[in-house]
Point group: C2
Chain length 315, copies 2
Protein backbone atom coordinates (compact mmCIF):
# COMPACT_ATOMS: atom_id res chain seq x y z
CA UNK A 1 0.00 0.00 0.00
CA UNK A 2 2.87 2.39 0.77
CA UNK A 3 3.86 2.43 -2.89
CA UNK A 4 0.39 3.23 -4.20
CA UNK A 5 -0.16 6.84 -5.21
CA UNK A 6 -3.46 7.08 -7.04
CA UNK A 7 -5.97 4.26 -7.24
CA UNK A 8 -9.04 4.49 -9.43
CA UNK A 9 -12.35 2.89 -8.55
CA UNK A 10 -15.33 2.47 -10.89
CA UNK A 11 -18.81 1.56 -9.68
CA UNK A 12 -21.26 0.16 -12.23
CA UNK A 13 -24.86 0.96 -11.31
CA UNK A 14 -28.09 0.30 -13.15
CA UNK A 15 -28.21 3.84 -14.57
CA UNK A 16 -24.68 5.28 -14.25
CA UNK A 17 -21.04 4.36 -13.87
CA UNK A 18 -19.34 6.46 -11.20
CA UNK A 19 -15.55 6.75 -11.08
CA UNK A 20 -13.24 8.21 -8.46
CA UNK A 21 -9.51 8.72 -8.12
CA UNK A 22 -8.42 8.11 -4.55
CA UNK A 23 -5.09 9.20 -3.07
CA UNK A 24 -2.88 7.71 -0.39
CA UNK A 25 -4.25 10.16 2.19
CA UNK A 26 -7.77 8.76 1.83
CA UNK A 27 -9.20 11.58 -0.26
CA UNK A 28 -11.24 11.57 -3.46
CA UNK A 29 -9.14 13.78 -5.73
CA UNK A 30 -11.17 13.39 -8.93
CA UNK A 31 -14.60 12.13 -9.88
CA UNK A 32 -16.46 11.47 -13.13
CA UNK A 33 -19.52 9.58 -14.37
CA UNK A 34 -21.13 8.16 -17.52
CA UNK A 35 -24.54 6.63 -18.26
CA UNK A 36 -24.55 2.83 -18.04
CA UNK A 37 -24.94 1.43 -21.60
CA UNK A 38 -28.24 -0.43 -21.98
CA UNK A 39 -29.89 -2.69 -24.51
CA UNK A 40 -28.41 -4.87 -27.25
CA UNK A 41 -24.64 -4.87 -27.50
CA UNK A 42 -24.31 -2.97 -24.24
CA UNK A 43 -21.60 -5.20 -22.77
CA UNK A 44 -18.79 -4.22 -25.19
CA UNK A 45 -19.93 -0.62 -24.73
CA UNK A 46 -19.68 -1.05 -20.97
CA UNK A 47 -16.03 -2.07 -21.34
CA UNK A 48 -15.52 1.06 -23.53
CA UNK A 49 -17.14 3.20 -20.86
CA UNK A 50 -15.03 1.71 -18.07
CA UNK A 51 -11.81 2.10 -20.07
CA UNK A 52 -12.66 5.69 -20.93
CA UNK A 53 -13.42 6.62 -17.32
CA UNK A 54 -10.24 4.92 -16.10
CA UNK A 55 -8.16 6.83 -18.66
CA UNK A 56 -9.73 10.15 -17.70
CA UNK A 57 -9.21 9.57 -13.97
CA UNK A 58 -5.66 8.23 -14.39
CA UNK A 59 -2.77 7.81 -14.42
CA UNK A 60 -3.24 5.26 -11.63
CA UNK A 61 -1.29 2.59 -9.83
CA UNK A 62 -4.29 0.43 -9.02
CA UNK A 63 -7.67 -0.03 -10.68
CA UNK A 64 -10.79 -1.66 -9.26
CA UNK A 65 -14.38 -2.10 -10.39
CA UNK A 66 -17.55 -2.71 -8.38
CA UNK A 67 -20.44 -4.43 -10.14
CA UNK A 68 -23.98 -5.36 -9.05
CA UNK A 69 -24.33 -9.14 -8.90
CA UNK A 70 -22.49 -12.34 -8.14
CA UNK A 71 -18.77 -11.90 -8.86
CA UNK A 72 -16.29 -14.77 -8.84
CA UNK A 73 -12.91 -14.62 -7.10
CA UNK A 74 -11.30 -13.97 -10.51
CA UNK A 75 -13.54 -11.04 -11.40
CA UNK A 76 -16.15 -12.68 -13.62
CA UNK A 77 -19.67 -11.31 -13.22
CA UNK A 78 -21.88 -14.42 -13.18
CA UNK A 79 -25.20 -12.61 -13.23
CA UNK A 80 -26.53 -9.09 -12.68
CA UNK A 81 -30.31 -8.59 -12.63
CA UNK A 82 -29.94 -4.84 -13.31
CA UNK A 83 -27.60 -5.06 -16.32
CA UNK A 84 -28.74 -6.20 -19.75
CA UNK A 85 -27.54 -9.56 -21.04
CA UNK A 86 -24.94 -10.34 -18.42
CA UNK A 87 -23.92 -13.99 -18.08
CA UNK A 88 -20.36 -14.92 -17.16
CA UNK A 89 -19.07 -11.52 -18.19
CA UNK A 90 -15.31 -11.44 -17.59
CA UNK A 91 -14.94 -7.82 -16.48
CA UNK A 92 -11.46 -8.30 -15.01
CA UNK A 93 -10.15 -10.11 -18.09
CA UNK A 94 -11.69 -7.91 -20.77
CA UNK A 95 -10.96 -4.58 -19.14
CA UNK A 96 -7.50 -5.72 -18.05
CA UNK A 97 -6.60 -6.73 -21.63
CA UNK A 98 -7.96 -3.47 -22.97
CA UNK A 99 -5.98 -1.31 -20.54
CA UNK A 100 -2.89 -3.48 -20.16
CA UNK A 101 -3.28 -3.22 -16.41
CA UNK A 102 -4.41 -5.51 -13.64
CA UNK A 103 -8.07 -4.93 -12.76
CA UNK A 104 -9.67 -6.13 -9.53
CA UNK A 105 -13.42 -6.67 -9.51
CA UNK A 106 -15.88 -7.37 -6.74
CA UNK A 107 -19.54 -7.01 -5.85
CA UNK A 108 -20.58 -3.37 -5.31
CA UNK A 109 -21.79 -3.93 -1.75
CA UNK A 110 -18.54 -5.72 -0.93
CA UNK A 111 -16.71 -2.65 -2.28
CA UNK A 112 -18.86 -0.42 -0.06
CA UNK A 113 -17.88 -2.56 2.94
CA UNK A 114 -14.22 -2.08 2.08
CA UNK A 115 -14.67 1.69 1.76
CA UNK A 116 -16.40 1.97 5.13
CA UNK A 117 -13.93 -0.35 6.82
CA UNK A 118 -10.76 1.36 5.63
CA UNK A 119 -11.93 4.98 5.46
CA UNK A 120 -15.40 5.27 6.92
CA UNK A 121 -17.82 4.28 9.65
CA UNK A 122 -16.17 0.90 10.11
CA UNK A 123 -12.68 2.20 10.71
CA UNK A 124 -10.67 0.48 13.47
CA UNK A 125 -13.17 -2.38 13.73
CA UNK A 126 -11.65 -5.85 13.32
CA UNK A 127 -15.08 -7.41 12.86
CA UNK A 128 -17.56 -5.33 10.88
CA UNK A 129 -20.58 -6.13 8.78
CA UNK A 130 -21.94 -3.73 6.18
CA UNK A 131 -25.60 -3.89 5.22
CA UNK A 132 -26.89 -1.73 2.37
CA UNK A 133 -30.58 -1.01 2.69
CA UNK A 134 -31.82 -0.01 -0.74
CA UNK A 135 -34.36 -1.56 -3.09
CA UNK A 136 -32.89 -4.83 -1.84
CA UNK A 137 -30.16 -5.67 0.68
CA UNK A 138 -26.48 -6.05 -0.11
CA UNK A 139 -23.54 -6.68 2.14
CA UNK A 140 -19.93 -7.28 2.91
CA UNK A 141 -18.22 -8.94 5.87
CA UNK A 142 -14.94 -8.14 7.63
CA UNK A 143 -13.95 -10.85 10.15
CA UNK A 144 -10.78 -10.85 12.20
CA UNK A 145 -9.40 -7.93 10.19
CA UNK A 146 -9.93 -9.54 6.80
CA UNK A 147 -12.50 -9.36 4.02
CA UNK A 148 -14.58 -12.54 3.85
CA UNK A 149 -15.08 -13.32 0.16
CA UNK A 150 -16.29 -16.92 0.41
CA UNK A 151 -15.01 -19.84 -1.58
CA UNK A 152 -16.44 -18.59 -4.87
CA UNK A 153 -16.59 -14.88 -4.09
CA UNK A 154 -20.30 -14.86 -3.22
CA UNK A 155 -20.25 -14.09 0.52
CA UNK A 156 -22.41 -11.23 1.83
CA UNK A 157 -25.68 -12.10 0.06
CA UNK A 158 -27.65 -12.14 3.30
CA UNK A 159 -30.47 -10.15 1.72
CA UNK A 160 -31.66 -13.62 0.73
CA UNK A 161 -31.35 -15.10 4.21
CA UNK A 162 -34.78 -16.65 4.86
CA UNK A 163 -36.36 -15.19 7.99
CA UNK A 164 -39.87 -16.57 7.42
CA UNK A 165 -40.36 -19.57 5.13
CA UNK A 166 -44.06 -18.68 4.77
CA UNK A 167 -43.35 -15.02 4.09
CA UNK A 168 -44.01 -12.97 0.95
CA UNK A 169 -42.49 -14.15 -2.35
CA UNK A 170 -39.11 -12.69 -3.35
CA UNK A 171 -38.04 -11.99 -6.97
CA UNK A 172 -35.27 -14.55 -6.34
CA UNK A 173 -37.96 -17.24 -6.46
CA UNK A 174 -38.11 -18.06 -2.78
CA UNK A 175 -40.17 -16.75 0.15
CA UNK A 176 -39.53 -14.65 3.22
CA UNK A 177 -36.03 -13.41 2.34
CA UNK A 178 -34.78 -10.72 4.74
CA UNK A 179 -34.86 -8.09 1.99
CA UNK A 180 -38.64 -8.57 1.62
CA UNK A 181 -38.88 -6.89 5.06
CA UNK A 182 -35.82 -4.79 5.77
CA UNK A 183 -35.24 -2.95 2.48
CA UNK A 184 -36.89 0.08 0.90
CA UNK A 185 -39.40 -2.17 -0.83
CA UNK A 186 -39.92 -3.97 2.48
CA UNK A 187 -40.76 -0.72 4.25
CA UNK A 188 -43.23 0.16 1.48
CA UNK A 189 -44.82 -3.30 1.74
CA UNK A 190 -45.23 -3.02 5.52
CA UNK A 191 -46.82 0.42 5.01
CA UNK A 192 -49.15 -0.82 2.25
CA UNK A 193 -50.32 -3.67 4.47
CA UNK A 194 -50.99 -1.18 7.26
CA UNK A 195 -52.88 1.05 4.79
CA UNK A 196 -55.03 -1.81 3.52
CA UNK A 197 -55.68 -2.73 7.15
CA UNK A 198 -57.09 0.72 7.81
CA UNK A 199 -54.12 2.05 9.72
CA UNK A 200 -51.69 4.85 8.63
CA UNK A 201 -54.35 7.33 7.49
CA UNK A 202 -51.81 10.12 7.11
CA UNK A 203 -49.54 7.98 4.94
CA UNK A 204 -52.50 7.06 2.78
CA UNK A 205 -53.41 10.73 2.46
CA UNK A 206 -49.89 11.53 1.23
CA UNK A 207 -50.24 8.68 -1.29
CA UNK A 208 -53.40 10.28 -2.68
CA UNK A 209 -55.68 7.68 -1.11
CA UNK A 210 -54.29 4.71 -3.06
CA UNK A 211 -52.67 2.04 -0.86
CA UNK A 212 -50.79 0.68 -3.88
CA UNK A 213 -49.13 4.08 -4.34
CA UNK A 214 -47.61 4.02 -0.84
CA UNK A 215 -43.83 4.25 -0.86
CA UNK A 216 -41.20 4.18 1.87
CA UNK A 217 -40.52 7.92 1.67
CA UNK A 218 -44.17 8.65 2.46
CA UNK A 219 -43.90 6.68 5.69
CA UNK A 220 -40.78 8.67 6.56
CA UNK A 221 -42.54 11.94 5.79
CA UNK A 222 -45.52 11.09 7.98
CA UNK A 223 -43.22 9.82 10.74
CA UNK A 224 -41.29 13.10 10.67
CA UNK A 225 -44.60 14.90 11.16
CA UNK A 226 -45.00 12.84 14.32
CA UNK A 227 -47.76 10.59 13.00
CA UNK A 228 -47.99 7.72 15.50
CA UNK A 229 -49.29 5.19 12.93
CA UNK A 230 -46.32 5.88 10.67
CA UNK A 231 -43.97 5.62 13.67
CA UNK A 232 -45.48 2.21 14.43
CA UNK A 233 -44.63 1.07 10.88
CA UNK A 234 -41.09 2.40 11.34
CA UNK A 235 -40.87 0.42 14.59
CA UNK A 236 -42.00 -2.76 12.80
CA UNK A 237 -39.46 -2.06 10.06
CA UNK A 238 -36.74 -1.54 12.69
CA UNK A 239 -37.64 -4.87 14.24
CA UNK A 240 -37.11 -6.66 10.92
CA UNK A 241 -33.80 -4.90 10.35
CA UNK A 242 -32.74 -5.85 13.89
CA UNK A 243 -33.80 -9.48 13.38
CA UNK A 244 -31.41 -9.88 10.45
CA UNK A 245 -28.61 -8.04 12.25
CA UNK A 246 -29.11 -10.38 15.20
CA UNK A 247 -28.91 -13.45 12.94
CA UNK A 248 -25.64 -12.10 11.57
CA UNK A 249 -24.40 -11.39 15.10
CA UNK A 250 -25.13 -14.94 16.22
CA UNK A 251 -23.10 -16.13 13.24
CA UNK A 252 -20.23 -13.64 13.08
CA UNK A 253 -20.17 -11.69 16.38
CA UNK A 254 -19.14 -8.36 14.80
CA UNK A 255 -18.40 -5.36 16.97
CA UNK A 256 -20.09 -3.01 14.54
CA UNK A 257 -22.73 -2.88 11.82
CA UNK A 258 -22.55 -0.16 9.21
CA UNK A 259 -25.83 0.58 7.43
CA UNK A 260 -25.67 2.14 3.98
CA UNK A 261 -27.81 2.36 0.85
CA UNK A 262 -30.64 4.70 -0.02
CA UNK A 263 -32.45 4.21 3.27
CA UNK A 264 -29.54 5.65 5.24
CA UNK A 265 -31.28 8.99 4.61
CA UNK A 266 -33.88 7.97 7.19
CA UNK A 267 -31.29 6.89 9.74
CA UNK A 268 -32.48 9.30 12.45
CA UNK A 269 -35.93 7.69 12.34
CA UNK A 270 -35.09 4.03 12.66
CA UNK A 271 -31.76 3.87 14.45
CA UNK A 272 -33.74 4.05 17.72
CA UNK A 273 -36.08 1.14 16.92
CA UNK A 274 -33.19 -0.97 15.60
CA UNK A 275 -31.05 -0.54 18.71
CA UNK A 276 -34.07 -1.12 20.95
CA UNK A 277 -34.98 -4.38 19.20
CA UNK A 278 -31.47 -5.89 19.10
CA UNK A 279 -31.31 -6.86 22.80
CA UNK A 280 -34.88 -8.22 22.56
CA UNK A 281 -33.89 -10.59 19.78
CA UNK A 282 -30.24 -11.54 20.40
CA UNK A 283 -28.97 -14.65 22.15
CA UNK A 284 -27.79 -13.94 25.73
CA UNK A 285 -27.98 -10.10 25.54
CA UNK A 286 -26.96 -9.67 29.18
CA UNK A 287 -23.74 -11.63 28.74
CA UNK A 288 -22.22 -9.89 25.74
CA UNK A 289 -21.37 -6.44 24.46
CA UNK A 290 -24.06 -5.61 21.90
CA UNK A 291 -22.90 -4.68 18.40
CA UNK A 292 -22.78 -0.99 17.57
CA UNK A 293 -24.94 0.25 14.70
CA UNK A 294 -23.64 3.18 12.66
CA UNK A 295 -24.65 4.70 9.37
CA UNK A 296 -22.31 4.75 6.39
CA UNK A 297 -20.03 7.67 5.64
CA UNK A 298 -19.70 7.38 1.89
CA UNK A 299 -23.28 7.26 0.61
CA UNK A 300 -23.35 7.07 -3.20
CA UNK A 301 -19.56 7.04 -3.58
CA UNK A 302 -19.07 3.99 -1.34
CA UNK A 303 -18.87 1.49 -4.22
CA UNK A 304 -16.36 3.49 -6.24
CA UNK A 305 -14.16 4.29 -3.25
CA UNK A 306 -14.17 0.65 -2.17
CA UNK A 307 -13.35 -0.49 -5.72
CA UNK A 308 -10.31 1.78 -5.60
CA UNK A 309 -9.26 0.01 -2.38
CA UNK A 310 -9.70 -3.61 -3.51
CA UNK A 311 -5.94 -3.96 -3.99
CA UNK A 312 -5.56 -3.70 -0.22
CA UNK A 313 -8.03 -6.45 0.67
CA UNK A 314 -7.79 -8.94 -2.18
CA UNK A 315 -5.13 -11.57 -1.55
CA UNK B 1 3.49 -26.28 14.65
CA UNK B 2 6.62 -28.09 13.55
CA UNK B 3 7.99 -27.93 17.09
CA UNK B 4 4.90 -29.34 18.73
CA UNK B 5 5.17 -32.98 19.76
CA UNK B 6 2.19 -33.82 21.94
CA UNK B 7 -0.77 -31.55 22.45
CA UNK B 8 -3.48 -32.36 24.96
CA UNK B 9 -7.13 -31.43 24.48
CA UNK B 10 -9.83 -31.60 27.14
CA UNK B 11 -13.54 -31.39 26.33
CA UNK B 12 -15.91 -30.47 29.16
CA UNK B 13 -19.36 -31.96 28.64
CA UNK B 14 -22.44 -31.93 30.84
CA UNK B 15 -21.71 -35.41 32.21
CA UNK B 16 -18.02 -36.14 31.48
CA UNK B 17 -14.70 -34.53 30.71
CA UNK B 18 -12.93 -36.28 27.84
CA UNK B 19 -9.20 -35.82 27.30
CA UNK B 20 -6.95 -36.84 24.43
CA UNK B 21 -3.25 -36.62 23.68
CA UNK B 22 -2.69 -35.84 20.00
CA UNK B 23 0.58 -36.27 18.17
CA UNK B 24 2.15 -34.40 15.25
CA UNK B 25 1.01 -37.11 12.83
CA UNK B 26 -2.66 -36.41 13.58
CA UNK B 27 -3.27 -39.42 15.80
CA UNK B 28 -4.91 -39.78 19.20
CA UNK B 29 -2.17 -41.52 21.21
CA UNK B 30 -3.88 -41.50 24.60
CA UNK B 31 -7.37 -40.91 25.95
CA UNK B 32 -8.93 -40.62 29.39
CA UNK B 33 -12.13 -39.35 30.99
CA UNK B 34 -13.64 -38.24 34.32
CA UNK B 35 -17.17 -37.41 35.45
CA UNK B 36 -17.96 -33.67 35.28
CA UNK B 37 -18.22 -32.35 38.88
CA UNK B 38 -21.77 -31.18 39.66
CA UNK B 39 -23.53 -29.23 42.38
CA UNK B 40 -22.20 -26.76 44.96
CA UNK B 41 -18.51 -26.04 44.78
CA UNK B 42 -18.17 -27.88 41.48
CA UNK B 43 -16.13 -25.19 39.74
CA UNK B 44 -12.94 -25.55 41.83
CA UNK B 45 -13.39 -29.33 41.45
CA UNK B 46 -13.64 -28.90 37.69
CA UNK B 47 -10.24 -27.17 37.67
CA UNK B 48 -8.89 -30.11 39.75
CA UNK B 49 -10.36 -32.55 37.23
CA UNK B 50 -8.89 -30.71 34.24
CA UNK B 51 -5.46 -30.44 35.88
CA UNK B 52 -5.49 -34.12 36.81
CA UNK B 53 -6.46 -35.22 33.28
CA UNK B 54 -3.83 -32.94 31.72
CA UNK B 55 -1.14 -34.37 34.02
CA UNK B 56 -2.14 -37.94 33.19
CA UNK B 57 -2.15 -37.33 29.45
CA UNK B 58 1.10 -35.31 29.48
CA UNK B 59 3.83 -34.34 29.19
CA UNK B 60 2.56 -31.97 26.51
CA UNK B 61 3.75 -28.99 24.53
CA UNK B 62 0.31 -27.45 24.07
CA UNK B 63 -2.88 -27.64 26.11
CA UNK B 64 -6.40 -26.66 25.07
CA UNK B 65 -9.86 -26.92 26.60
CA UNK B 66 -13.29 -26.97 24.96
CA UNK B 67 -16.25 -25.83 27.06
CA UNK B 68 -20.00 -25.64 26.35
CA UNK B 69 -21.10 -22.00 26.29
CA UNK B 70 -20.02 -18.49 25.36
CA UNK B 71 -16.23 -18.19 25.68
CA UNK B 72 -14.37 -14.89 25.42
CA UNK B 73 -11.24 -14.41 23.31
CA UNK B 74 -9.17 -14.68 26.52
CA UNK B 75 -10.70 -17.98 27.60
CA UNK B 76 -13.30 -16.87 30.14
CA UNK B 77 -16.52 -18.91 30.11
CA UNK B 78 -19.27 -16.29 30.35
CA UNK B 79 -22.15 -18.72 30.74
CA UNK B 80 -22.81 -22.43 30.31
CA UNK B 81 -26.40 -23.65 30.68
CA UNK B 82 -25.24 -27.25 31.26
CA UNK B 83 -22.68 -26.56 33.99
CA UNK B 84 -23.63 -25.60 37.55
CA UNK B 85 -23.00 -22.06 38.74
CA UNK B 86 -20.89 -20.81 35.85
CA UNK B 87 -20.63 -17.04 35.45
CA UNK B 88 -17.46 -15.45 34.14
CA UNK B 89 -15.43 -18.53 34.98
CA UNK B 90 -11.81 -17.89 33.97
CA UNK B 91 -10.87 -21.37 32.78
CA UNK B 92 -7.73 -20.23 30.93
CA UNK B 93 -6.46 -18.16 33.88
CA UNK B 94 -7.25 -20.61 36.69
CA UNK B 95 -6.05 -23.75 34.94
CA UNK B 96 -3.03 -21.95 33.50
CA UNK B 97 -1.96 -20.76 36.97
CA UNK B 98 -2.49 -24.21 38.41
CA UNK B 99 -0.39 -25.96 35.78
CA UNK B 100 2.14 -23.22 35.08
CA UNK B 101 1.39 -23.61 31.37
CA UNK B 102 -0.48 -21.59 28.76
CA UNK B 103 -4.01 -22.89 28.30
CA UNK B 104 -6.16 -22.07 25.27
CA UNK B 105 -9.92 -22.26 25.67
CA UNK B 106 -12.77 -22.09 23.20
CA UNK B 107 -16.36 -23.17 22.70
CA UNK B 108 -16.70 -26.93 22.25
CA UNK B 109 -18.39 -26.67 18.83
CA UNK B 110 -15.67 -24.28 17.69
CA UNK B 111 -13.15 -26.92 18.79
CA UNK B 112 -15.05 -29.54 16.79
CA UNK B 113 -14.84 -27.30 13.73
CA UNK B 114 -11.08 -27.03 14.17
CA UNK B 115 -10.74 -30.82 14.49
CA UNK B 116 -12.75 -31.47 11.33
CA UNK B 117 -10.98 -28.73 9.40
CA UNK B 118 -7.42 -29.77 10.23
CA UNK B 119 -7.84 -33.55 10.49
CA UNK B 120 -11.32 -34.53 9.41
CA UNK B 121 -14.19 -34.06 6.97
CA UNK B 122 -13.29 -30.41 6.36
CA UNK B 123 -9.69 -31.03 5.36
CA UNK B 124 -8.37 -28.99 2.43
CA UNK B 125 -11.39 -26.66 2.50
CA UNK B 126 -10.54 -22.96 2.78
CA UNK B 127 -14.15 -22.09 3.61
CA UNK B 128 -15.94 -24.59 5.83
CA UNK B 129 -18.82 -24.38 8.26
CA UNK B 130 -19.37 -26.97 10.97
CA UNK B 131 -22.85 -27.52 12.33
CA UNK B 132 -23.39 -29.85 15.28
CA UNK B 133 -26.89 -31.28 15.35
CA UNK B 134 -27.52 -32.47 18.90
CA UNK B 135 -30.04 -31.43 21.54
CA UNK B 136 -29.40 -27.96 20.13
CA UNK B 137 -27.16 -26.63 17.36
CA UNK B 138 -23.57 -25.52 17.75
CA UNK B 139 -21.07 -24.36 15.19
CA UNK B 140 -17.75 -23.05 14.05
CA UNK B 141 -16.73 -21.13 10.93
CA UNK B 142 -13.57 -21.30 8.80
CA UNK B 143 -13.42 -18.47 6.23
CA UNK B 144 -10.56 -17.88 3.86
CA UNK B 145 -8.41 -20.43 5.65
CA UNK B 146 -8.86 -18.93 9.11
CA UNK B 147 -11.03 -19.59 12.14
CA UNK B 148 -13.68 -16.87 12.57
CA UNK B 149 -13.89 -16.17 16.29
CA UNK B 150 -15.82 -12.88 16.24
CA UNK B 151 -14.91 -9.73 18.11
CA UNK B 152 -15.71 -11.20 21.52
CA UNK B 153 -15.21 -14.88 20.71
CA UNK B 154 -18.93 -15.64 20.27
CA UNK B 155 -19.14 -16.42 16.53
CA UNK B 156 -20.84 -19.65 15.44
CA UNK B 157 -23.99 -19.43 17.57
CA UNK B 158 -26.28 -19.82 14.56
CA UNK B 159 -28.45 -22.29 16.42
CA UNK B 160 -30.19 -19.11 17.57
CA UNK B 161 -30.56 -17.64 14.09
CA UNK B 162 -34.27 -16.80 13.85
CA UNK B 163 -35.88 -18.58 10.89
CA UNK B 164 -39.50 -17.90 11.84
CA UNK B 165 -40.30 -15.03 14.22
CA UNK B 166 -43.71 -16.61 14.97
CA UNK B 167 -42.21 -20.06 15.51
CA UNK B 168 -42.13 -22.15 18.69
CA UNK B 169 -40.52 -20.68 21.81
CA UNK B 170 -36.84 -21.43 22.44
CA UNK B 171 -35.27 -21.89 25.89
CA UNK B 172 -33.12 -18.85 25.00
CA UNK B 173 -36.25 -16.72 25.45
CA UNK B 174 -36.97 -15.98 21.80
CA UNK B 175 -39.04 -17.70 19.11
CA UNK B 176 -38.33 -19.66 15.97
CA UNK B 177 -34.58 -20.19 16.45
CA UNK B 178 -33.10 -22.60 13.90
CA UNK B 179 -32.36 -25.18 16.61
CA UNK B 180 -36.09 -25.44 17.39
CA UNK B 181 -36.39 -27.17 13.98
CA UNK B 182 -33.07 -28.64 12.92
CA UNK B 183 -31.78 -30.31 16.11
CA UNK B 184 -32.61 -33.56 17.84
CA UNK B 185 -35.31 -31.82 19.85
CA UNK B 186 -36.54 -30.20 16.63
CA UNK B 187 -36.94 -33.59 14.93
CA UNK B 188 -38.84 -34.89 17.96
CA UNK B 189 -41.11 -31.82 17.91
CA UNK B 190 -41.87 -32.22 14.20
CA UNK B 191 -42.69 -35.89 14.83
CA UNK B 192 -44.90 -35.12 17.85
CA UNK B 193 -46.84 -32.57 15.81
CA UNK B 194 -47.32 -35.18 13.08
CA UNK B 195 -48.44 -37.72 15.71
CA UNK B 196 -50.96 -35.33 17.25
CA UNK B 197 -52.20 -34.59 13.71
CA UNK B 198 -52.98 -38.28 13.20
CA UNK B 199 -50.01 -39.01 10.94
CA UNK B 200 -46.95 -41.23 11.74
CA UNK B 201 -48.93 -44.19 13.14
CA UNK B 202 -45.87 -46.42 13.22
CA UNK B 203 -43.84 -43.85 15.15
CA UNK B 204 -46.68 -43.49 17.64
CA UNK B 205 -46.79 -47.26 18.01
CA UNK B 206 -43.07 -47.34 18.82
CA UNK B 207 -43.71 -44.59 21.39
CA UNK B 208 -46.30 -46.76 23.14
CA UNK B 209 -49.22 -44.69 21.85
CA UNK B 210 -48.24 -41.49 23.65
CA UNK B 211 -47.43 -38.57 21.29
CA UNK B 212 -45.52 -36.82 24.11
CA UNK B 213 -43.19 -39.83 24.35
CA UNK B 214 -42.11 -39.53 20.70
CA UNK B 215 -38.37 -38.99 20.31
CA UNK B 216 -36.13 -38.45 17.30
CA UNK B 217 -34.69 -41.97 17.40
CA UNK B 218 -38.21 -43.42 17.02
CA UNK B 219 -38.68 -41.48 13.79
CA UNK B 220 -35.34 -42.83 12.57
CA UNK B 221 -36.33 -46.37 13.48
CA UNK B 222 -39.66 -46.14 11.62
CA UNK B 223 -37.96 -44.49 8.65
CA UNK B 224 -35.43 -47.32 8.49
CA UNK B 225 -38.35 -49.75 8.36
CA UNK B 226 -39.51 -47.84 5.27
CA UNK B 227 -42.50 -46.15 6.92
CA UNK B 228 -43.55 -43.39 4.50
CA UNK B 229 -45.02 -41.15 7.21
CA UNK B 230 -41.75 -41.23 9.11
CA UNK B 231 -39.85 -40.54 5.88
CA UNK B 232 -42.06 -37.49 5.32
CA UNK B 233 -41.07 -36.18 8.77
CA UNK B 234 -37.41 -36.79 7.89
CA UNK B 235 -37.94 -34.84 4.67
CA UNK B 236 -39.46 -31.92 6.59
CA UNK B 237 -36.54 -32.09 9.03
CA UNK B 238 -34.09 -32.09 6.11
CA UNK B 239 -35.78 -29.01 4.69
CA UNK B 240 -35.27 -27.12 7.96
CA UNK B 241 -31.63 -28.20 8.15
CA UNK B 242 -31.17 -27.09 4.53
CA UNK B 243 -32.85 -23.74 5.18
CA UNK B 244 -30.28 -22.84 7.84
CA UNK B 245 -27.39 -24.13 5.72
CA UNK B 246 -28.65 -21.94 2.87
CA UNK B 247 -28.82 -18.88 5.12
CA UNK B 248 -25.22 -19.55 6.12
CA UNK B 249 -24.25 -20.04 2.47
CA UNK B 250 -25.77 -16.71 1.46
CA UNK B 251 -23.70 -15.11 4.22
CA UNK B 252 -20.40 -17.00 4.04
CA UNK B 253 -20.32 -18.93 0.73
CA UNK B 254 -18.49 -21.97 2.14
CA UNK B 255 -17.42 -24.80 -0.12
CA UNK B 256 -18.35 -27.40 2.47
CA UNK B 257 -20.60 -28.02 5.45
CA UNK B 258 -19.60 -30.62 7.99
CA UNK B 259 -22.44 -31.96 10.11
CA UNK B 260 -21.62 -33.43 13.50
CA UNK B 261 -23.31 -34.04 16.85
CA UNK B 262 -25.53 -36.86 18.02
CA UNK B 263 -27.75 -36.78 14.94
CA UNK B 264 -24.86 -37.65 12.64
CA UNK B 265 -25.81 -41.25 13.43
CA UNK B 266 -28.84 -40.81 11.16
CA UNK B 267 -26.82 -39.26 8.36
CA UNK B 268 -27.80 -41.87 5.78
CA UNK B 269 -31.47 -40.98 6.26
CA UNK B 270 -31.40 -37.22 5.90
CA UNK B 271 -28.37 -36.44 3.75
CA UNK B 272 -30.62 -37.03 0.72
CA UNK B 273 -33.39 -34.64 1.81
CA UNK B 274 -30.84 -31.97 2.82
CA UNK B 275 -29.01 -32.00 -0.50
CA UNK B 276 -32.31 -32.05 -2.40
CA UNK B 277 -33.63 -29.02 -0.52
CA UNK B 278 -30.51 -26.86 -0.79
CA UNK B 279 -30.96 -25.92 -4.49
CA UNK B 280 -34.66 -25.27 -3.83
CA UNK B 281 -33.86 -22.71 -1.15
CA UNK B 282 -30.56 -21.10 -2.15
CA UNK B 283 -30.11 -17.82 -4.02
CA UNK B 284 -29.19 -18.31 -7.70
CA UNK B 285 -28.62 -22.11 -7.53
CA UNK B 286 -27.95 -22.38 -11.25
CA UNK B 287 -25.13 -19.81 -11.13
CA UNK B 288 -23.00 -21.20 -8.35
CA UNK B 289 -21.35 -24.40 -7.23
CA UNK B 290 -23.54 -25.72 -4.40
CA UNK B 291 -21.84 -26.37 -1.07
CA UNK B 292 -20.91 -29.95 -0.30
CA UNK B 293 -22.45 -31.56 2.78
CA UNK B 294 -20.40 -34.15 4.64
CA UNK B 295 -20.71 -35.80 7.98
CA UNK B 296 -18.10 -35.36 10.68
CA UNK B 297 -15.23 -37.78 11.16
CA UNK B 298 -14.54 -37.40 14.85
CA UNK B 299 -17.92 -37.95 16.51
CA UNK B 300 -17.62 -37.75 20.32
CA UNK B 301 -13.88 -36.98 20.29
CA UNK B 302 -14.25 -33.90 18.04
CA UNK B 303 -14.22 -31.38 20.90
CA UNK B 304 -11.16 -32.84 22.63
CA UNK B 305 -9.19 -33.23 19.40
CA UNK B 306 -10.03 -29.65 18.37
CA UNK B 307 -9.07 -28.35 21.82
CA UNK B 308 -5.66 -29.99 21.33
CA UNK B 309 -5.34 -28.09 18.04
CA UNK B 310 -6.36 -24.62 19.24
CA UNK B 311 -2.71 -23.51 19.31
CA UNK B 312 -2.71 -23.74 15.52
CA UNK B 313 -5.75 -21.53 14.94
CA UNK B 314 -5.70 -19.01 17.80
CA UNK B 315 -3.73 -15.89 16.91
Amino acid sequence: MADVGISVGLDVGGTKVLGVAFDADGRVVAEDRRPTPRGDGSLPKLIDTLADLADRLGPYDELGVGVPGLVTQTGVLRAAPNLDGVADFDVAGLLGARLGHRVRVDNDATCAAVAEWLHGAGQDASDMVLVTLGTGIGGGVIAGGRLVRGKHGFAGEYGHMVVDPDGPPCPCGRRGCWERYASGSGLARLAREAAVGGRVHRVLEIAGGDPEAVRGEMVMQAAREGDTDALAVIDEFGRWVALGLVNLTNTLDPERFVLGGGLAAGADLYLGPITTWIPELIYEPELRPLPEVRFARWSERAGAVGAALLHIVHG
